[in-house]
Symmetry: C2
Subunit: 294 residues, 2 copies
């Protein structure tokens, strides 16, 4: 009972395909949750699950012990935190800020620096596991920030994920997510090039996929993602446009250290071409089309 | 008893790190096996397991119903089949020829064409699963050739592998193996670029590997191969020089169809640079060094 009463009041900003199920899991774990979303309807829809709808970030921030953000692009994160009606303008001292958006590590560091000035505690905590992981509460949560702050909010994160790791100081969660996306770029493109080669040589992509996916060539990207394209399904699990966002951040970060990552660069280039051709709202498996459509 | 008596007499050429354990599994399955190897000692060592040592390919070929080859490079395959003291010069009509070396699909087709002229039956049947799969009899065997010939020799292949697939006409086993190697190139380099990025950003490669390897970024290459480099272990599971051989074949095959595979090309280029620096006898995980040694 005491534990229940001590549960922190959470303000959740960004209730989209990832955020909404994360809110539901926080509610299930017994946390009081207020919600804000730019498209109001998506936040209001969570009232039936027990969330309290807030019309402004100000209203949300003033009644929250922990503010979680799960929005779209780095620009959105910047606006939500640093905007004139944003979090920094409205959060009470002592509030914990957790940005779970995949965004720029530099931005995470800027948020942390401002938080320190304002007497707030900031963590970057991007996730992997997709909308399925968000629904099932099985996300991997990659955290950057101070050990003490991490320990304080860990129970909150445990309501949304199963594998929760402090990776290092501010920005380290984002850097780890970038490493994750870089590895995905390689595995996904390798699977796509393999299938394109097989098709070019007159083999059945399905048969080749079945033959090689359980061995040394196997990857989650091959089995769960690229396989959909082999079946002609380009529906988004993970949007190509969001993958491009992530790869651009990773490339900028690598460039700033003069670290050359040619495979990442190739996959980013191919993906950007596909986006220009109107494929941004497809799933990342659309990369196969680059190779097999001539 | 009848099944036992009907077991085909096998001639096995190439008793190296892969071939030797494959011979042992054929012997265990009850097949009479004769062995030939360029370095004679490696073939003679199998006498204690019940194999019959032969000093020349001629001696081996004249007493075999099925000749299996598992040698090194395409040049070796060519010599063994087409050389003046080779298989075609010596095999009896009706003999089955199974090349399990990873080699050029064009060479597999040339072998099949010659076999037809000579009244022999040829299959290409490269494998995946490495020396571990060879020892444990759990190889994946990717076969190209005629359905009828495949059915005839399938019991022989089943003594060495668990997943045995007819992929299409002559050369299709090799093409499938090439697709496998292309997918490996992507997954391996993606994992290497991810780890190099993490290190560059001051994170622990071990910690990042643990955090991301069980999710969407996960691959056999990340978990079983690149992980060794993260631990500082560059010992060969799979030799870099052999991977280069395979990638060169794959690239030549792609080039001949004007199929561009930029990720494969990057990984081949990086690998060739590493070989020039003397890393050819390391395992493929040495690719990490390209990114982290400056």
């Amino acid at each position: 009972m005491k534990g229940e009463m001590m549960k922190k009041r959470i303000g959740f900003i960004g209730t989209g395909i990832m955020g909404a199920p994360m809110v539901k899991n926080l509610l299930k774990a017994g946390y009081p949750v207020q919600v804000f979303n730019r498209s109001k309807d998506k936040a209001k829809a969570l009232e039936k699950d027990g969330a309290v709808f807030q019309n402004t970030i100000a209203d949300l921030a003033q009644n929250s012990d922990v503010i979680i953000t799960m929005v779209g692009y780095p620009e959105d994160v910047e606006e939500v935190y640093f905007g004139s009606e944003g979090i920094f303008e409205n959060a009470k001292p002592g509030t914990y800020l957790i940005d779970m958006t995949t965004t720029s590590p530099k931005l995470s560091k800027a948020i942390e620096a401002q938080a320190k000035i304002d007497g707030l505690y900031a963590l970057d905590a991007p996730v992997t596991g997709g909308d399925k992981g968000a629904r099932e509460g099985t996300l991997t949560i990659l955290v950057g920030g101070e050990q003490e702050d991490f320990q304080t909010v860990k129970p909150v994160l445990q309501a949304m994920g199963t594998k929760i790791r402090l990776m290092g100081p501010a920005g380290s969660g984002q850097h780890t997510k970038m490493a994750n996306q870089i590895a995905i770029a390689g595995a996904l493109s390798g699977a796509a090039e393999a299938m394109a080669y097989a098709k070019e040589k007159g083999l059945s992509m399905e048969t080749v996929l079945e033959a090689i996916s359980s061995g040394a060539a196997g990857s989650v990207q091959m089995t769960n993602v690229l396989s959909r394209a082999v079946e002609g399904d380009y529906q988004p699990g993970f949007f190509l446009k969001h993958f491009i966002k992530d790869m651009r951040i990773a490339k900028a970060e690598a460039d700033s250290d003069e670290l050359e990552l040619p495979v990442l660069e190739d996959v980013l280039e191919i993906s950007q071409e596909l986006e220009k051709e109107g494929c941004g709202d497809n799933g990342t498996q659309i990369i196969l089309k680059h190779y097999i459509d001539e």
